[in-house]
Structure formats: C-alpha cells, structure tokens
Amino acid sequence: MERDALRSLVEAVLLTARGPVRADAVSLATDGEAPEAEVEAVLGELAASWEEGRRGVRLERAGGGWRCVTPPELDHPLRVFHGIAGRQRLSQAALEVLAIVAHRQPVTLPEINFIRGANSAAVTRTLLDRRLVRYAGRKKVVGKPFLYRTTQEFLLHFGLERAEDLPDPEDLIEAEVAADA
C-alpha cells in the first residue's frame, strides 16, 4: 500500500473512531496490505506532524492505542462553541421530561421524578426557561406540588392546535402510516 494512501486512511480512522485506535486494527482494515509496523510508523509520523505548528487536534497514546484530543488551551472557546450550538439543542433528559409532560399532562415534578427514576428538577427548569412547558396550578395533595403542562410554543413546534391533538404514542409508532393511508 502506498504511504500516502495509508496516511490518509489512518487519518480518517483517527477522526471517525470513538475510542483509541490500534495499529493492528488498522492493518486488518487494509486486508494486511499495510503491516502493523508500517501503520505504527505512520501513526508516529502523524503524531509528530500534528504536534508541530498550532493544530486543533493532537494525537495521544491511550488505552493501548492512539486517539485524537483537542489541546487544553482550546477548552474555553470549544466549551462556548458547543454551548452556542447547544442552544438549539435538547438533551436526552430534557426530551424525556418533555415526553412525559406532553403525554400525561397535567403532571407534577414528583410524578416525573418517579417515572424517570431520576431527579428532573434542573431539566424541568430548562424546559420552563425555553417555554416548552409551563406551570398549570398546584395539585391538591400533600405538599401541593406544581402541575406542569406543555405550552403554545410546544404546540406550534409540532404543528398541533391543541394538546389533545397529540396522537397516542402507541398508535403513532405502530400504525401511524397505515391509519394515514
């Protein structure tokens, strides 16, 4: 295998891999065309060349292989960037709380916590801030917890007129399209 081709493959593997990359695994991916020692040499070269100049990623040895990491001095702007990109994003936890509120409204925080098996106070707060859920009075039980409902904004996003128009989740997954046809 040509050295150039191998270098580009190693680079692609490093950038798409989730864990440490081992030379033997890359060698296997070339059907053995590139022996392990050669892959190891290319990995060393790449590590050295990425170290020169100011690059956005570096190679480090970890877990018996190599992996890409970002240099520590970029931590702050990267954090800000991912925060900005995250503004239009919803965490898995937030989506779960939203799904519970949507399908069981009105519902209290203790009920949400019970169903999720995890404290959901902070996440619910985020959804309140993003105006996807709202307060809807208090439940007449001990402690009088707040009740939550989805908002107008929530309906707008899903193109619904009323919360009651939310389809039954089972129906939607099982027979949505068939019923539509």
Binding site: A12, H82, L90, S91, A99, H103, L166, P167, P169, I173
Partner: protein, 265 residues
C-alpha cells in the same frame, strides 16, 4: 417413500416469465409508452390499455399480488378507451387523456429527481463524518430541537415508560380465597349421603373454575384421610367413585377437625 419429483406439475407452469417490477401503475404506463416509442402527449390509448391489461393478466397468472392501485388504473384506462372509441361529440372539447398526461408528467419528474437522489446516495453513503469527542466532561448527546418531531417524542415516551415498568414490576396480586376446604367437605359429604355413589371426575368437570376444583379435590382427600369417605377407581384414568366410609362423621364438627388441614394447605 418415493421421492421422485412430480415433473408434471413443473411443466404445467411453463417456462418462467421475466416480469419486471413496477413501482405502481404510473411506472408501468411510462414503461409501456417508452417501449412503444410513442409520445406521452399523444398516447394511443387503445393499444396501451390492451398492453396494460395484458400485463395485469400475466401478473395474476403468475400468482403475483396485484395491488389495488394497478386495478384502479386498469379501470380508468378502460374508461378512457371507450371514450376514445366513441365519436367526439364535443367539438373542440377537452382531450379525455389530459388528466392522465398531467399525472404521468408529474410522476416522470419525480422519477427524474429520484434518479438524481439515487446517484447522490451511491456516493454519499460512502462518506463518514468526523466525530472527535471533545475533552469536555459535560458533553452529552443532544438533539437538534428542529429535528424533534412527534415520532421522536412518542418514541421517547414509550422508552421511558418501558424503563419505568422494568424498574417497577407490578406486585403479585393475591386474590382472597373464594372457596374453603371446609365448605367443600360439607358439600361433597352431603352429596354422598344423599346419592350414596358420587362420580368425582364428572362432578369436577362441571366446575369450570379451577380454584373450586382444587378446593374440591383437597376436600375429598381430607374426607378420605378421616375415613369418612372411601374412593375407588377400577382402572387408571377411569372414573373415581366416592361412597361413605367406615367412620361416621358429624358434618358440624368439620370446622374444628379440619382447622389443622387448612393451616397445612
């Protein structure tokens, strides 16, 4: 056993017919138009209609399922054919084929676009996005809010409820006993006293509730143990006949005597 294949059946089917697959009646029509090298704007309806029906017939002969949409188009074509054969009454009237042409054109455009997507898909399926995990500790999977639709919401809800059900299995339901052994001992003993000979299995078969049947069997065994009832079976699996045993038993004393039995049961 003779395993010679039945050749007669195979030859009866005749040679296999190569039948291209069509993504619907419009797809088939476009194929016929291309095959006949005719203009989409001036479709010879009579010929195309006949070929279309011929195709449907072949599908049926091959036992292929002919979807309703193919039959619907077949009916439409027949109707167009008869209108084309009739002398034109309406002068300068609209061409009966107009709607069909419009639909064929729209569908053909869709197919063109689908072909472009197909070529793109071929190449694009071969690329991988880079995904270096940033060294930020709180990096977690997040979803683009724009992409959150009703389906994802429903899927998430069902996943949460499934997880909840797994973590909180429903408690075993313990139903209150509806039949007591004492009552059943009294019932069956009274029956034996009244009828002298009681067929147990037939008696049990008239009790569709398994709980009651179990209580009856336990009651019978208890009566046999006390010597109040004797049981007799001539053959395995044959009827079991119950009659009075050697000991006289006071029905009213059962409550006390069987207290130990129900404790142990």
């Amino acid at each position: 056993m003779d395993t010679t294949p039945d050749l007669g059946e195979v030859t009866a089917l005749g040679p296999p017919v190569e039948l291209p697959f069509f993504n619907g009646p419009l797809d088939l029509l476009l194929h016929l138009i291309r095959k006949n090298q005719v203009s989409i704007y001036d479709i010879p309806i009579v010929a195309i209609c006949d070929q279309y029906h011929e195709h449907i017939r072949t599908m049926e002969e091959l036992d292929l399922e002919v979807a309703g949409e193919f039959l619907w188009m077949a009916a439409w074509l027949l109707q167009l054919k008869s209108r084309m054969l009739l002398p034109r009454v309406e002068e300068e009237g609209e061409d009966p084929r107009e709607e069909l042409v419009e639909r064929l054109l729209a569908y053909r455009a869709v197919r063109e676009l689908a072909a472009i997507l197909h070529d793109k898909d071929l190449v694009r399926s071969c690329i991988w996005p880079a995904g270096v995990v940033p060294a930020l500790d709180d990096a977690q999977t997040e979803l683009d809010w724009e992409e959150v639709d009703l389906r994802l919401l429903a899927e998430t809800y069902l996943a949460v409820m499934t997880r909840f059900a797994a973590a909180n299995p429903p408690p075993l339901e313990v139903l209150p006993l509806r039949y007591t052994v004492q009552d059943k001992m009294r019932e069956i003993y009274q029956r034996i006293v009244d009828e002298e000979l009681v067929p147990l299995l037939r008696y049990l078969n008239r009790r569709p509730d398994p709980e009651e049947a179990v209580a009856l069997v336990v009651a019978t065994l208890e009566l046999v143990r006390l010597g109040a009832v004797s049981a007799e079976q001539r053959l395995p699996f044959a009827e079991i006949y119950l009659r009075r045993g050697s000991r006289q038993v006071d029905l009213d004393r059962f409550a006390g005597e069987t207290a130990g039995v129900s404790d142990g049961a």
